[in-house]
Subunit: 225 residues, 2 copies
């Protein structure tokens, strides 16, 4: 019975997500969905990203948490539209929450929309939010076996961002093994290693976002679709 309900809930979510995806495409909005364990550095990466962008960039953020609007407060300082989604106990964002939050978010045409999911390496992987790309973050403080233990999200993400690389000298973390494990689950996964503290690798992340934006706009402009 439980599985039947889960299937029904996911089916309903998929319908709403498909409508969102169409809406994003019609407006040229590139939506990326950031997923990781609590404390892997999603908000810090977004802070640094917003700080690096020209103030007139078309960028907005939806940030999810079970409780508190701490993250929205941290991110609002940069002057871009930011809304908190507080799930009140639910362990993931779903498409309906995104749909509702969009009503209150000033979102320009051709924006880059960051969705920061609830900190949870498991459940958010199952909920399509209409995003163009899922991005998984893994901190070097967490352990290199995580892609094997939590394959769902590594399978679905197009990019793995290995965060907090400044801690590498201080932790027992085998970055080569982490990358190999991610590729065992998902051979085509792209990988960026960075530290928001030192800035190492950050340019690669900005370049990745730029390239994805160009690729997305080329796709939706293509007459074949």
């Amino acid at each position: 019975m439980r599985e039947a309900v889960e299937k029904k809930v996911l089916g309903e979510n998929d319908r709403v997500a498909s409508a969102l995806r169409l809406r994003f495409r019609e407006r040229g909005i590139l939506c990326v969905n950031l997923i990781s364990s609590p404390g892997s550095g999603k908000t810090t990466l977004l802070e640094r990203t917003l700080a690096a962008l020209p103030r007139d960039s078309a960028v907005a953020v939806l940030t999810g948490d079970i409780q508190t609007d701490n993250d929205a407060q941290r991110l609002a300082r940069f002057g871009f539209p930011v809304r908190q989604i507080t799930t009140g106990g639910t362990c993931h964002l779903d498409a309906r929450m995104i749909e509702r939050a969009l009503d209150a978010l000033p979102l320009a045409e051709s924006s880059l929309l960051f969705v920061e999911n609830v900190g949870n390496l498991v459940c958010p992987a199952s909920y399509d939010l209409g995003e163009a790309e899922k991005i998984v973050l893994l901190s070097v403080a967490e352990g290199e076996d995580k892609p094997l233990k939590y394959p769902g999200i590594f399978h679905r993400a197009s990019l793995m961002v290995l965060t907090k690389t400044d801690l590498l000298p201080h932790v027992e973390f085998d970055a080569a093994a982490a990358k190999e494990n991610a590729r065992r689950i998902h051979p085509q996964i792209e990988i960026i290693e960075l530290s928001c503290r030192t800035g190492d690798g950050f340019d690669q992340w900005v370049a990745w976002l730029g390239a994805k934006g160009r690729q997305y706009r080329a796709e939706i402009a293509a007459p074949a679709r």
Copy 2:
């Protein structure tokens, strides 16, 4: 409808957990349920704990993961009974999984039974496993606001173990704020700070387990019950 099913599932889980709790009490088994984000150091803490115990101690471990039996392999090296529970996608352990796993676990009277939950700071908090104590681990690499963002588990845990304190000089983590946040959610929560790498604070953890064992056995021996 979804909430009704969740309630039913949790009700069914509570019944199985109550039976387990009774069974543990009858046999003097102290069961502790370790919950944290992925990579906070549950397995490492257990490795160090098993290494520190006399080889004839009555101790056993059930360790949960979505995929892989890596943790059971890591923990079996110490010579105590260890079984892996592989959930195959489910984001938490439930009481029925514990009940089934116990069939295959040689468990002496008056044992200390460690249950290492799936790495997830959200969902495992809702599932009673019949344990005497829930223990939440938080690594200093994760951020001091986590108790406020994930209040469920901090509310239910009797102990918070702040792990990886050797990293404190290398991360922006305010340990005083983390403890204050945990106590805002749960004023009576006990707190131990430790590093499995340096061994700092580890004695306190071993002492806590010993004290809990004595307290538990005194409670179940009390004629008033």
